[in-house]
């Protein structure tokens, strides 16, 4: 689990660094000028892809709606703002977020719906109930340690993963009991 998180973290980090260093997509900068109504000219918003030093009314407002002598008065009222974004980061973030959410939802559906069904089909009804009782009877907070010491015995990789998963599920069950059923924490 740790390695997955670290990997995730570093991939995000690398991406952020990369996207800030390299990709200045031409669409990612804009100079936005808002010009209020002036005499008979209506208010207007102008957007241009120009660099920071060119971000002023004279470069951005095209075509100029007023005559030569009024340009200065008109431009004085306009407010120009230079803005940057990173479209790559946004795209990456949203897609990554959605895929993580999707995976979690799939796993959730598996844990809550599919697995009990599979178990029921494999082991029959009785053992499932017994299993539930077993968990319920355990001492309130002390079992994490027991589970921990129990999981040392088997060296097999697959077993290890399974044990880790079992341990995690026990812990979550404990948490669920203390938060949702007994209301001892976080109420």
């Amino acid at each position: 689990m740790k390695s997955v998180f670290l990997l995730e973290f570093f991939s995000v980090l690398c991406f952020v660094l990369l996207s800030t260093v390299t990709a200045k997509n031409s669409e990612d900068i804009r100079c936005k000028c808002i010009c209020p109504p002036y005499r008979d000219v209506e208010g207007q918003i102008y957007k241009q892809n120009v660099s920071l030093k060119d971000c002023n009314c004279l470069h951005v407002v095209e075509p100029m709606p007023v005559e030569g002598k009024d340009v200065e008065a008109y431009c004085l009222r306009c407010e120009c703002k230079y803005e940057e974004r990173s479209s790559g980061t946004i795209k990456f973030t949203i897609i990554m977020y959605l895929s993580i959410l999707g995976l979690l939802l799939l796993y959730m559906v598996y844990l809550t719906l599919l697995e009990p069904m599979l178990k029921r089909r494999l082991f029959g009804h009785s053992q499932l109930i017994q299993n539930d009782d077993d968990v319920g009877d355990q001492q309130p907070f002390a079992n994490a340690h027991n589970v921990l010491s129990r999981s040392h015995s088997r060296p097999n990789m697959l077993n290890k993963v399974e044990h880790a998963q079992q341990r995690w599920r026990r812990q979550v069950q404990e948490q669920r009991k203390s938060v949702f059923d007994r209301h001892v924490v976080l109420s």
Binding site: V12, V16, P36, Y46, I90, K91, V172, V179, H183
Partner: protein, 839 residues
């Protein structure tokens, strides 16, 4: 053994009052290698480190408090080991350097990860909030603002409209206007909100129940030394991040600031596990977590200094100077990381950054203070009502249906929020609009003033104007939004999804502040001949800034709820980036704190801590009881006598029955039942583990084996089973007070030293003369400067000082012996140690 006294002293002085430095630390410095006298070792060390501890012996059970003194002494010990090893080889030297740097590395990593996660959350929330209303056709991952980024179709009147962005009704039916489209949009808005909140609550329920709530009360408790296993785990981190986005974008009246602190603390805990220095020492881990909390606030508000102060003022329990530096570093790194992600496209860290520099006037302090009073009242109302509701949830049937509750509240919120434009959008955007002053370019309804047609002033300086119909319209809507927010926030905070409190509180304050601001502005405009306005508000001048009132109101309401003062003002000051408004903000924050304190001393976090019954000794609490330690200690007069172990007569079976029959966290060890002189204290968990370990691994240990805590095994006949030595788990210097110690002092000792237990002894008269000698000796050795650097030197100094003790002192001691013996006889030669069980 090297006595590095000056350094340790300084370290502890920075934390505690110097008179509380007990001699414990001094002799602890030279425990493991040969000490000059055996007595000195026995007199002083906290833990006997001669033997390798058992696995797990240093850890604590879930829902228990840690022993700060023990953690500290273990760290000192570890540090000393590394320092002495580093002289052996280059590799060890490098290792020691790496160890010294690991604190900063952890801070760097925390800053990077929490900044990144905050950026991800911001971007995703931005997108998902807009998803409730429509979708960007050109690229679905863009939010409304990003979708129309380069579009030239936007007009001055309809600034955020562009063909690429389509509302759901427009996309489905082709009609953008009309009643049918409105109803369809309304319906889909509610549906999306319900979907988001349902996903959030079910993810929390299935994967990480600890991810719900704001997290700050629990983090406060954890930082004060409580253990909640899994609360800062990896799954909590993942689920909290994912569900926070869902919860915020579902439009519920909650914010992401509190949960971000929790997320940052999870990051801290994650990186702690990479370094044994932090992963194996709960005390050191809490230093890192304090810094992580600072990083969390830093990214939530874009306020690094405010974050550090928040950690110091609100959440931390033990905050040494070293941590101050580190948390500042972590907060800066986090803020910089978030800044480089640039989630809002405005190079700012928060959406509601404000920038105005209009002055304020003395007379405006009156409305500011009134806003402070409002903030205090809101804080009181909120805390009382929310706690009452949470208690109901905790104790009645309501708590049985967390998913239904979330769905119901979301449904009500969405149904009521959509018709009002001020509650429909995200709360951050609302605050941003309320904070911002009306320039000539603003298109919002709030800025619908009647303009003078021949006004020709530069943009920045717009005089006060009469309000147009739009403003009056907006005022009504804002008033409705205020009532709605006040009511719904009470029911939202504490539901089983990640929910922060800062943003809704600030929204309530900002709405109230803006309403007051507009009222004052209009009053000043229409009545500038009144005596109060005459001095500072000429006609045609810009004298009232309604945005500033909104900001002051937000600060007041946040202060009323959380009872922050300094950190709140600094956070607000970092949000505005100007020093001008410190006085209004302080006036409002302090007033709101006073008003709220008048109705109840506790902030929302302390109230929630109390509601849940966490063991938390607030540093700010004052005790005024006139009681003594003897009045509160356990066992009480009519209780059965105290459960104790004897140093060399108890058997393994006795110990096991004792553990089974009682639920004390530890047992005092005495010389024998008759004399009951205290030797030390042994923790229940250590005892259990040690016996279990010995039964498994050590041959010859059976139920009738004698457990002994002395240095040498007791003389037993050969036929007896092998005895079990447990001196290594014995704490030889338990904290003791006499039975006549006032309770204030005892509470202070508990609070400042972070004790778990304190033993009460019936007067300390029976100390032998030689021990007192050693004490004097030690005090004198301590005064020497520079401290001795080698064992030889120490020995020399000890002899020298021994000779220097004036004869008079010795005589006095001898003379006092009869007196002491009398006292002992008076106490019936019994010195009964009691255990105070706290909390």
């Amino acid at each position: 053994c090297r006595l590095d006294l000056s350094q340790t002293d300084r370290y502890y002085e920075s934390v505690y009052n110097p008179c509380e430095i007990s001699r414990v630390y001094i002799s602890n410095q030279c425990v493991s290698s040969a000490t000059p006298t055996e007595e000195m070792n026995g007199a002083g060390n906290l833990m006997d480190f001669l033997d390798e501890p058992f696995p797990d012996v240093s850890t604590y059970e879930d829902f228990h408090t840690i022993d700060w003194l023990r953690e500290k002494s273990r760290d000192t010990d570890r540090h000393r080991k590394i320092t002495s090893k580093s002289k052996e080889s280059i590799w060890e030297l490098i290792k020691s350097l790496l160890d010294a740097w690991s604190g900063w590395v952890v801070m760097l990593l925390i800053g990077l990860l929490s900044g990144t996660l905050a950026g991800v959350i911001d971007l995703a929330v931005d997108w998902m909030t807009d998803l409730k209303e429509g979708v960007c056709l050109s690229a679905f991952w863009y939010s409304h603002e990003q979708c129309c980024w380069t579009s030239n179709e936007t007009t001055f009147d309809d600034r955020d409209k562009c063909p690429q962005w389509q509302k759901w009704a427009e996309l489905m039916t082709g009609h953008a206007e009309g009643a049918g489209a409105y109803v369809l949009n309304y319906f889909l808005y509610i549906l999306w909100a319900l979907l988001f909140s349902f996903l959030a609550v079910s993810l929390v329920r299935v994967f990480a129940p600890y991810a719900c709530g704001s997290g700050i009360p629990e983090i406060k408790t954890i930082l004060s030394g409580f253990i909640i296993r899994g609360y800062l785990g990896k799954w909590t981190l993942l689920i909290k991040t994912v569900t926070l986005v869902l919860a915020v974008s579902s439009g519920l009246s909650l914010g992401k600031e509190g949960p971000l602190v929790h997320v940052a603390c999870c990051c801290g805990n994650l990186f702690c596990s990479l370094f044994s220095k932090y992963s194996k020492n709960e005390g050191k881990r809490r230093e890192v977590l304090s810094a992580a909390a600072a990083a969390g606030v830093s990214v939530a508000f874009g306020a690094p200094i405010g974050g550090v102060l928040f950690s110091l003022e609100e959440v931390s329990y033990y905050f040494p100077l070293k941590t101050l530096w580190r948390s500042f570093f972590a907060a800066l790194v986090a803020a910089f990381t978030l800044r480089s992600i640039n989630p809002f496209g405005n190079s700012r860290l928060v959406l509601f950054y404000v920038e105005y520099h209009t002055p304020w006037y003395m007379a405006e302090l009156v409305p500011f203070i009134l806003l402070g009073v409002f903030g205090g009242l809101w804080g009181t109302l909120f805390i009382r009502a929310n706690i009452a509701w949470c208690r109901r949830r905790k104790t009645t049937q309501l708590g049985k249906y967390p998913v239904l509750e979330v769905i119901a509240v979301t449904g009500i919120t969405a149904v009521l929020a959509y018709p009002n434009p001020y509650t429909r959008r995200s709360t951050s955007e609302l605050i941003s609009e309320l904070f911002n002053d009306c320039g000539a370019l603003e298109s919002s309804q709030l800025c619908d003033y009647i303009n003078n047609p021949n006004m020709s002033r530069p943009v920045d300086d717009i005089p006060d104007r009469p309000a147009g119909p739009g403003v009056y319209n907006a005022l009504w809507q804002l008033a409705l939004a205020l009532i709605f927010k006040i009511v719904i926030t009470i029911f939202t905070f504490g539901m089983k999804i990640p929910s922060g409190l800062f943003i809704p509180s600030m929204a309530v304050g900002a709405i109230a502040g803006r309403i007051v601001g507009i009222a004052v502005e209009q009053m000043a405009y229409h009545h500038h001949d009144w005596i109060i306005f005459k001095n500072w508000c000429r006609p045609g001048a810009d004298c009232v800034t309604p945005g500033l009132y909104a900001m002051v109101g937000a600060a007041a309401c946040l202060g009323g709820v959380t009872r922050m003062t300094v950190s709140l003002v600094v956070i607000m000051f970092e949000l505005t980036g100007g020093l001008e408004y410190i006085v209004p903000l302080m006036a409002a924050a302090v007033t709101s704190k006073w008003v709220a304190d008048a109705f109840g001393k506790e902030g929302i976090y302390e109230s929630h801590i109390q509601l849940n019954g966490y063991p938390y000794l607030d540093v700010r609490d004052e005790f005024t009881h006139r009681t003594l330690a003897t009045d509160v200690m356990r066992p009480r007069r009519n209780d059965p006598p105290l459960a104790v172990l004897t140093q060399d007569t108890t058997t393994v079976e006795d110990v096991e029955t004792l553990i089974k029959d009682t639920d004390y966290n530890g047992f005092p060890v005495v010389v024998s039942r008759e004399s009951e002189r205290l030797i030390g204290f042994v923790q229940r968990r250590d005892l259990t583990l040690a016996i279990k370990n010995a039964r498994q691994k050590q041959d010859g240990v059976v139920s009738s084996s004698v457990v002994y805590f002395t240095e040498d095994a007791p003389q037993l006949p050969a036929s007896n089973p092998q005895p079990l030595k447990l001196r290594r788990i014995l704490n030889l210097s338990p904290f003791t007070v006499t039975d006549h110690t006032p309770m204030e002092t005892v509470v202070d000792i508990f609070r400042k030293l972070g004790l778990r237990q304190c033993l009460v002894t019936r007067s300390g008269y029976d100390r032998s003369v030689s021990q007192i000698y050693l004490e004097i000796l030690e005090i004198q050795v301590r005064r020497r400067f520079p401290p001795p650097s080698s064992l030889k030197e120490l020995e020399g100094i000890l002899t020298e000082e021994w000779l220097q003790i004036p004869l008079e002192t010795i005589h006095k001691l001898y003379e006092s012996i009869p007196q002491r013996i009398e006292a002992v006889i008076a106490a019936k030669s019994r010195r009964t140690p009691y255990e105070i069980i706290f909390c």
